[in-house]
Chain length 365, copies 2
């Protein structure tokens, strides 16, 4: 630990405070961070020289003393390119500003591409988006299915045919930009964490498969083999269940994946009564609750967020899941448990990649 590490820590602290609290003066920052006004002034000068922070002019309200000069993060000064490879049919991308707002969108049909061809599609989309940016690009974030190590190498992503693909390194060399890659569910939980107040959070991503991302103690859980969140192929309950693609009976994914739910609802017929449809969804919700109960108990989780098609998840499914969780854990722990849909909708992974880049490049989240 060198003095310059302390410096960069303080720099990130100032930037973080400014980012989350919004426009304020150097003196406000000093009070907020615990540093002195002198130090804050120095750090702000550095941040202004880099174009990250701008002066907004004097504070308007009438107070004694010299009027304060308001500062803020220049949220338009840089762009972030985000890529979401978690879709089954398309690779989605976007240009975002530093506030995480999506400015431009682009996508490429995957068309069943795997291996090197899939990588090419991702690289081309990223380059196309970087060219669209009307401000310097801070970095590129990628959320991909599969097991991704901290260096951004995709250890294994069966659907894309990727094995030990150094996604981050190769893309960074090709684009000449900082690149950050992580698992799609991890990206999603980062997106949710950006807004959430809690330091412990689980995000369950339900799509073609079922995965999850976890934040514990304010930090993303990566797992010893970088394979955290893999709850899709955990067997639910002790009474069997539908056959899963992995060959076992009663995996969570066999109960809960979008194709499975859609198939079950379709089997009811178009004129099925609402109660029958609700029961299908409630049963899936109960299964989710059964799997989550031990995790909630062990981690004392205060909040779980679901991501996926709202017309399937938001309703009987989520209600049944919460009820099951309450029934199967200690009351004190789950009394205040929140289980809700994400507010990010389909863009959750894209927003998460932006959080990743902000955190990796600026120390801000």
């Amino acid at each position: 630990m060198l003095p310059e590490h302390a410096r960069s820590h303080n720099r990130a602290l100032v930037l973080q405070t400014l980012y989350t609290t919004g426009a304020q003066s150097r003196a406000d920052l000093a009070r907020g961070t615990g540093l002195t006004r002198v130090t804050v002034s120095d750090l702000v000068a550095e941040l202004m020289a880099e174009g990250l922070v701008v002066e907004l002019g004097q504070r308007e309200d009438a107070r004694p003393g010299k009027p304060a000069t308001l500062l803020d993060v220049d949220r338009g000064a840089f762009r972030i390119v985000g890529i979401d490879v978690s879709g089954h049919r398309v690779v989605r991308g976007a240009v975002l500003d530093l506030s995480g707002a999506i400015l431009e969108r682009a996508e490429s049909p995957l068309g069943g591409a795997t291996g090197e061809r899939a990588f090419e599609l991702v690289a081309e989309l990223a380059a196309r988006l970087a060219a669209l940016a009307t401000a310097p690009v801070l970095g590129v974030g990628i959320g991909t299915p599969g097991v991704v190590d901290p260096r951004g190498t995709v250890r294994s992503a069966p659907n894309l045919g990727w094995t030990d693909l150094p996604l981050q390194a190769r893309l960074s060399a090709r684009l000449g930009l900082p690149v950050h890659a992580t698992n799609d569910a991890n990206a999603a939980v980062l997106a949710e964490h950006g807004a959430a107040e809690a330091d412990d959070l689980m995000l369950v991503k339900i799509g073609h498969g079922v995965g999850s991302g976890l934040i514990v103690g304010g930090r993303l859980v990566t797992g010893s083999g970088f394979a955290s969140g893999e709850i899709g192929h955990v067997v639910v309950g002790t009474d069997g269940g539908p056959r899963c693609v992995c060959g076992r009976d009663g995996c969570l994914e066999a109960w809960l994946s979008v194709p499975r739910l859609t198939e079950q609802l379709d089997a009811l017929g178009a004129d099925a009564d609402e109660a029958a449809r609700a029961e299908v969804l409630a049963e899936a919700g109960r299964r989710l609750g059964i799997v989550l109960a031990p995790v909630v108990g062990a981690l004392d989780l205060p909040e779980i967020v679901l991501s996926g098609p709202a017309h399937l998840l938001d309703g009987p499914l989520i209600d049944a899941a919460l009820e099951t969780l309450r029934k199967r854990t200690m009351a004190e722990q789950t009394r205040d448990l929140r289980l809700r849909m994400t507010a990010h909708g389909q863009d959750i992974v894209l927003h998460g990649t932006a959080v990743m880049v902000l955190s990796g490049e600026l120390g801000v989240s």
Copy 2:
């Protein structure tokens, strides 16, 4: 972040390296920590002045250059007092040295004491042990059942009748020593982590009740309500189960607690055949595996350690638990999963309190 924070970080880094790697020279420390020899010399001088580090004399082996002066943590320079309140009938305590070895023991029968009387017993035992110490006491560590917040206030410990008891603050004022308090299962996992190589670890403590402690990313999981590890009252499976004291059917504790297992084995009669006894234990192990599977999947845990009576746990129970875990999670995750008994035996909480004091007072673990 001030320069002196960097200093104390580096100080702890040097001490940690010396503590875990053992006797070595200043130059070795410099290589090991990445600091320069000058800085290491300075920090070592400070640590020697405090009596924490001593010179052992010159290195014996024949090498070119000036012979190195070996240093080591003076593991006898201080004592740690550890108290384990997790026992059902007695409060156990010990005096330990800095290596975690137990030098003296003492215990007090609890005799059903609760509330203020139970606190008195703990305080008296701690004072008695502190008086037994033949070197300055670095601090006092306490492991207690219940929910304990980071300040060492017992939010709730029903068995002891404690509610919002500021255990750490009151004991510290009374003894004039630094005190650290935590949940007994958390203390246990800290003890296990001291020896384990992994940064992710779960410890399941099976006694009168069932609890657990978790280390994720090298850090103890406290939980949003400081109630992490409470898996004893998570319902197992979807086929009912024995009635639990909490009123529900099929809680893990109702399957797995020591009283329950003992009762079941006793019911078989003294001349029961070995296979019948093994089946009782295996069924309990399967139930444990069912509850742990989602946790292992979500956290990608590499290792789970059991603490409790070896004659019950070590054998059919642990084998069945591992087999169930493998059957109910993805093969890639649990192929290398280790499930084993702790090597600390009955002293696991005492050892854990020592780790807590070492970590809290010296930044060493």
